[in-house]
């Protein structure tokens, strides 16, 4: 009985509130007698069937989120690749001249920082080549380029941040990335060949004559810059060839050194 009283009280409170809100505005309402009778009947039925409609969820208080402790030795200020990482993430998001120029200048700057670390330098070379390729070709770049760019950066990040990774391990990682790079080159050449077939023979580009001259250069160190006139897939292939040769020579030197160390043990 108490419940019924409470229900009535609630109903009348709701009705009163709604009347306050909407009451005066409904002067034009017309209800048929049949409708009102239906109302009463339906209300009765309703009151029998309203068992399980429970309310919703409590709002949980937000717990305090513990401040992230910076990793030892990797305080934001010490992380040498921070700016480059920003650039790589930006490229992933949106490719603009601004971002690409920033990326390439960051590569140049890091090259001086790491001029004595051959492996890191190689990674930077790879990234630089990829960056130049994207900058030149934009929407015509091979779709896989970006995946490889991210992969090379991720591996470089590993190599730079690791404190106890051996030179051999680093080289292994570099080699994996180089292979991906080679794969990309093949795909790019294929794409180029298909496009060329479609277009029929065209007069050779000016770039190709530049590149044939540069092929005769003796390769002691990787070229400081990828040919500035790189506007075709051939120039990318040339850069890759140079890098390959450099890696081979460096690996041979290191193998010899390792053998010496091994023998002396």
């Amino acid at each position: 009985m108490v419940d019924t009283n409470k229900d009535d009280k609630l109903d009348s409170e709701i009705a009163k509130r709604l009347d306050d809100l909407f009451g005066e505005g409904d002067a034009s309402s017309v209800e048929t007698g049949a409708m009102q009778a239906d109302d009463a009947a339906a209300d009765e039925n309703k009151s029998k069937s309203q068992a399980g409609q429970s309310g919703g969820d409590e709002i949980f208080e937000l717990k305090d989120v513990a401040a992230n402790k910076p990793d030892e030795g990797h305080l934001p200020g010490d992380y040498p690749l921070a700016e480059l990482k920003n650039m790589v993430l930006s490229i992933d998001w949106e490719i603009t001249d601004e971002v690409l120029s920033g990326f390439l200048s960051q590569i140049d700057s890091l090259k001086s920082t790491y001029k004595n670390e051959k492996i890191v330098l190689m990674f930077l070379q790879l990234l630089g080549s990829l960056g130049e390729y994207i900058k030149t070709n934009r929407g015509n770049a091979h779709p896989q380029t970006f995946k490889i760019l991210n992969s090379v950066f991720a591996r470089l990040d590993e190599v730079v941040l690791s404190q106890d990774m051996s030179e051999l391990e680093k080289k292994k990682i570099l080699r994996t990335e180089m292979n991906k790079y080679k794969q990309l080159r093949k795909q790019v050449s294929k794409k180029k060949a298909t496009a060329a077939n479609k277009r029929q023979a065209k007069p050779p580009k000016k770039d190709e004559t530049d590149i044939s001259a540069s092929k005769t250069r003796k390769v002691d160190m990787p070229s400081e810059k990828v040919p500035a006139t790189a506007k075709s897939y051939d120039s990318l292939a040339e850069a890759i060839e140079e890098l390959k040769q450099f890696i081979h020579s460096e690996l041979s030197t290191l193998r010899l050194e390792l053998k010496k160390i091994h023998k002396s043990k």
């Binding site: 339906a42 209300d43 409590e58």
Partner: protein, 201 residues
Amino acid sequence: MAFVNLKNKEIQVKIVYYGPGRGGKTTNLEYIYKKFRKRINTEMVTVKTHGDRTLFFDFLPFDIGVINGYNVKIQLYTVPGQVKYNATRRLVLRGVDGIVFVADAMAVRREKNIQSLKNLQENLANYKKSIFKIPCVMQYNKVDLFEQGIPLLPVEILEKDLNNQLKRPSFKASALTGTNVVMTLKKIISMTVASIKKDLR
């Protein structure tokens, strides 16, 4: 299901206006919004096509004040009525607490009304809700067209087609002129709020 915030002592109640395309669902909300703008004091959101058909939903929120210590906020939604927007309708029905079924009283729309009601039943079932249990009010809209000589379905037919099993409160209405728009609204609000009264205590 009504959203209850025990900390803020707030209850949000979702009422959806459902029915066939061009039946008057949006017009109901537009009438309420225009008429009571000053009192309601909130904006109405509509996502429409350029042809004024509801594309996603119309949304009109307002407070009805404190009841049993809880601040009760009503959220009115309409769904797009055209058949092709079924996925959207299903989305808007999520968490619904009360339904106003806006049937089109025009004789030519008889079949559309029935299909729409069936569609409502299916979409509610998708959320494991029963059309027989959820608070619902039937509105037979466009009665104003009678004066223009347009053939309308008699109430008996509408009741037989749509309300025979449900036996819900029903109103003849004209969303354009406002006839019974507010009565419909008051009825569905009180039915819906009453149905969650356990949470008010």
